[in-house]
């Protein structure tokens, strides 16, 4: 039955036709009227072409390959359309056990894939579950297409739970930390707003967006399919820095002796890494990569991420590239006494290329302390780098005379790191340096990705990383529970690229929503998880010690409420119970290497694996 015939059929069956004809979310037919008309019609109540089929067409038009979701009734029609109408391919439904996992999977996926995936959340309660992970994505400038189910028309809601799971304004809970949202009232409205949302999410500064898919709009038949269209998507070119400001910045950077480049969320892809190398070499200036993204090769002699404080202290000019907290680079505040100290010279010249000023909201304070700079360029960094490099090259005067000294300092930094890593080499619990050295030993011959990585970590300090996909940075908002699902999302993106995805998995983070291990097993997502099992919310142990010291009280109680022990959690069993190959707990460092080799073999066969290692605190 083609669409025209189907529509004729439905019109002929007057009862159901008139009941379901409304393509507005505010249909007025009462339940009694519907029942009467249905009986009169005497036909089976079926809808061959529901609105949710068209929604799948819209989602598919955007090239979205996956939708992560915990199933729920407010989007049951869309779920069914994805599975049956769409054949569960592009998008494929990724079954999750928590909405926070769904969002964080999408977060990690974007950072590995370079394009968004979607997630579906159930009306009120699902969105509440999702909220913290959305905040992480917001802080990390990551686009996620959030979709929420909701029944806006109260007259259509089933009594009981459905009311509790609906809201007038589902996105209100998230509006402080998403870029845009809409609750479309028609299918055409859905198409236009979803394409608009995707486009806005992908325009720097990239951020999550939300579309609420009304339940009746999903379930009712498409009325006038010929009248529907899906707008063409053309992504906006990212904004470049104004040419005069870029020239001024180049002058400052070229006219000072000790220049430092500090970068955080700059490179979107390997081209961004290449541009960063060109910039650093044009200035012959050391780079401190804060690793919001992988911006600069750790093998380059100008990569001096471990020496950030000393470089800032001696700098005459500093170029910040999309740094979330430049004030924190120039100053410090002691903890717990809150004593201020200036680190940088008082007259250091500063330039900041950032989009932070273009998208900031009031309530949540992720904007960090205000930092005055000499030149502020409101622009996307990667898009601005070519003109900045060109302007610097035109001026000339790179500090090439310093190359030998810079190479020597780089080698000294590396040697210090290796000596520090050698300490406690045979200790049990296993040192975090040993853990990372063992992991590197199994990854070194692979095309690899570490799904969570931060400046100052052993991976960033020890491992030779040259590719944009090697390090995927952190959560953004430091909301615990990001790492495990984000790693699953990254592995999902990498699985068809021949990239081995690994994660050093903290125990406390995993326990927020460990069901994501089942998601990895169920969908055959090859992720190598290595537990950093220090049996505590370790940072909080240290915070409690600080408070006890400040209050002049005993410190041997610091593990009360912070330790994850008595009983110890058996993470291998936790993983095995969900279908993930696992070994551990390992306390003897000599046993890590062989276990990781076995785990790698599982991962290379396309399955997830987990090795539980009992580690030092940090």
């Amino acid at each position: 039955m083609d669409n025209e015939a189907r529509r004729s059929f439905l019109k002929g069956a007057a009862a159901i036709g008139s009941t379901l004809a409304a393509n507005s979310v505010v249909a007025q037919s009462s339940g009694a009227e519907k029942e009467k008309k249905s009986k009169a019609a005497g036909v089976a109540k079926t809808i061959a072409r529901p609105g949710s089929d068209f929604m799948v067409d819209v989602i598919r038009s955007l090239g979205i390959d996956y939708i992560a979701s915990n199933p729920a009734s407010s989007f049951r029609s869309l779920h069914e359309s994805i599975v049956n109408y769409g054949g569960n391919r592009k998008p494929e439904f990724i079954t999750c056990m928590h909405e926070e996992s769904s969002v964080a999977i999408a977060h990690g996926y974007y950072k590995a894939a370079g394009k968004p995936m979607a997630m579906l959340a159930h009306g009120s309660v699902g969105i509440q579950h999702a909220a913290m992970a959305v905040y992480n994505a917001w802080c990390d400038r990551v686009p996620v297409v959030l979709m929420g189910g909701n029944f806006m028309d109260a007259a259509q809601r089933r009594p009981g739970v459905e009311w509790a799971h609906c809201s007038q304004n589902p996105a209100a809970l998230l509006r402080d930390y998403i870029k845009w949202d809409d609750q479309p009232a028609s299918l055409q409205h859905f198409a236009e707003s979803t394409v608009r949302a995707y486009k806005m999410a992908m325009t720097p500064p990239m951020e999550p967006v939300m579309i609420v898919a009304d339940g009746m709009l999903q379930e009712e038949p498409i009325e006038d399919e010929k009248g529907l269209s899906i707008p063409k998507l053309a992504l906006s070119a990212p904004p470049q820095g104004e040419s005069g400001a870029v020239r001024e910045a180049a002058k400052i950077l070229s006219s000072h002796e000790n220049v430092v480049i500090i970068c955080e969320r700059v490179a979107r892809n390997q081209e961004g890494v290449k541009l960063m190398v060109e910039l650093a070499e044009a200035l012959n200036a050391p780079v401190v990569d804060l690793l919001g993204r992988m911006n600069f090769p750790t093998t380059h002699y100008l990569c001096r991420s471990s020496d950030g404080r000393a470089l800032v202290r001696d700098a005459d000019a500093i170029l910040f590239l999309e740094v979330a907290d430049p004030w924190g680079q120039l100053n410090s505040i002691s903890d717990p006494h809150h004593e201020y100290r200036r680190v940088a010279k008082a007259d250091v010249k500063t330039v900041h290329v950032t989009l932070a000023d273009q998208l900031m909201k009031s309530n949540y304070q992720d904007m960090q302390r205000f930092c005055p700079v000499d030149i502020s360029i409101s622009a996307d960094c990667q898009a601005t780098l070519p003109s900045l490099i060109e302007a610097i090259r035109k001026i000339g005067n790179p500090k090439f005379g310093k190359t030998e000294a810079l190479r020597k300092e780089y080698l000294q930094m590396k040697a210090r790191t290796r000596e520090a890593a050698a300490l406690a080499w045979d200790a049990s619990p296993v040192s975090t340096a040993r853990l990372h050295a063992e992991l590197w030993n199994v990854l070194k011959n692979e095309n690899w990705c570490l799904a969570e990585s931060r400046n100052g970590s052993w991976a960033a300090r020890l491992w030779p990383a040259t590719q944009h996909h090697n390090f995927l940075g952190q959560s953004g908002g430091a909301g615990v529970g990001y790492i495990a699902p984000a790693a699953v999302g990254a592995a999902l993106a990498n699985k068809d690229k021949g990239i081995v995805t690994a994660v050093v998995q903290p125990d406390g983070d995993l326990m927020y929503a460990p069901g994501v291990l089942w998601t990895a097993a169920h969908h055959r997502i090859p992720l190598l998880s290595v537990m950093h099992n220090n049996r505590a919310y370790h940072q909080e142990v240290m915070h409690l010690q600080k408070m006890a010291g400040l209050h002049n009280r005993r410190m041997d109680t610091a593990r009360i409420g912070t330790a994850i022990e008595d009983p110890n959690i058996d993470y291998a069993k936790l993983a095995q119970a969900q279908g993930v190959w696992a070994e551990g707990p390992i306390t003897d460092p000599a046993k890590i290497g062989p276990a990781l080799q076995r785990a790698l073999a599982v991962v290379k066969k396309g399955e997830p694996a987990l090795v539980d290692v009992v580690t030092q605190g940090r």
Binding site: L423, A437, W458, K546
Partner: protein
């Protein structure tokens, strides 16, 4: 000259400490959370390395009681002098790890 000073300070002011008791105290008072169980220090600036070759007893004691920077103060009423002396004995007893050049896994370039 430096070594002479270290020896002088070490012998003149340190209390007698017991290594075994010191190891237990090092764990009990949570020194290991920032400095590692064998004093190796911790990642991302949590705490500096203490061993091998800790600084002299006088400086060690001063830092524990009236710390510089972010370390919490361990005052006498919550960390008795004898326990501190034992901790110092333990930290001093920690043997050096092999050098990085002797560890094949650290030949990373």
């Amino acid at each position: 000259m430096k070594w002479v000073f270290v020896l002088f300070v070490g012998t003149a002011f340190s209390q007698d400490g017991d290594v075994k008791r010191g190891q237990a105290a090092f764990l009990k008072y949570q020194c290991y959370t920032c400095h590692g169980t064998v004093g190796q220090g911790a990642e991302r600036g949590a705490g500096p390395k203490l061993a091998p070759n800790p600084f002299p007893w006088a400086g060690f004691q001063f830092q524990v009681r009236t710390p510089r920077q972010d370390m919490p103060a361990y005052r006498r009423e919550h960390l008795p002098d004898q326990d501190l002396a034992d901790i110092y004995a333990y930290v001093r007893s920690i043997k050096p790890s092999p050098s990085a050049s002797a560890i094949p896994l650290l030949k990373i370039d």
